[in-house]
Symmetry: C2
């Protein structure tokens, strides 16, 4: 997606070897007009697939998922990272390893919101090692729901997540795929 690549080139900041900061428009400050373009593109890619539910993971996937859901006319569910008093015991759960935070945590979704009759589209802002996406796939499979695929904003194609998830037979559509990046050379897209 040309618009997103151009925005990454303009406003993305590379820190160290493999940290791409896009927090001025994607995952801290959020450019909702851009999100609408992203949502339309996801709809172009997955609009014919019978999607009736979008599943994402807190926190930075939620905004993109909600804007995208307007095009699919379906609800969004976000997987939660911690079990709170407000969630009943009847949940699906899986594990996600966060490389950013350096820890493993559980994600959960209430069973009542993921049904075998659902056709689920996964949405997230980043795909790098694939752990979050793998956790979401596990939730969908635990529910026996249909998995349509995953719509990703930015894939670090030089990390193993995308290959691993596609190798599981899951359709992954990434709007910007980064082949390589460095503070000196900037970002190169696939």
């Amino acid at each position: 997606m040309e618009l997103l690549e151009a925005r990454i080139r303009r406003d993305g900041k590379i820190r160290g070897g493999d940290v791409l900061k896009v927090d001025s428009f994607l995952n801290h400050q959020m450019d909702v007009e851009l999100f609408n373009q992203i949502g339309q593109e996801f709809y172009r890619l997955f609009g014919g697939c019978g999607v009736n539910k979008i599943l994402t993971i807190e926190a930075s996937g939620i905004g993109i998922a909600c804007i995208t859901a307007q095009y699919f006319h379906c609800p969004v569910i976000f997987a939660k990272k911690n079990k709170t008093k407000n969630i009943a015991g009847d949940v699906y759960t899986s594990k996600v390893e966060s490389f950013t935070h350096g820890k493993v945590y559980d994600i959960i979704v209430s069973r009542e919101f993921l049904l075998p009759s659902d056709r689920v589209l996964l949405i997230d802002d980043f795909l790098a090692n694939g752990s979050a996406l793998q956790g979401l796939i596990q939730l969908v499979r635990s529910a026996g729901a249909g998995l349509v695929g995953a719509g990703i904003c930015v894939e670090k194609a030089f990390q193993p997540g995308g290959g691993m998830i596609r190798g599981m037979g899951v359709r992954v559509e990434s709007l910007a795929r980064i082949a390589s990046m460095s503070e000196e050379e900037g970002v190169t897209f696939c």
Copy 2:
């Protein structure tokens, strides 16, 4: 807001004395069509106030804030609950007490995204004890930005947060204000 009150009456679930579960449409599964009605109502209330930025807090405020921002044609910032590697040191910070999780945590926002020239609307799903909203107000004041007010979906008016925040001189508009609730009697609105 009649539509939201009707939805709470129909789909809200009261657990114990003071837990209102609205996770089938507001803060776990998210009804994006309803969010659009909510966003329009916030725009009716605050549309003439020069809002150029919406500030919310992860996670459940993000979806409502993003949908609402479409009407204001402005970006959203969400305050983060943990400091990660991806956020530089240059942040505003304040403390929030979570009664749901039973702990105190820091919230942060990057200084570069909150400016003295900003006119900020706060958006959140719930107002009960007011701790999250107070934390967001503190971030806005630290930045020297203008605070337009707070748009809240559900206020538990029988808890002290709304009175406390209004007592600080902040305009608070809650779309559904709960006067009382119990498992036997259901929900009564103000």
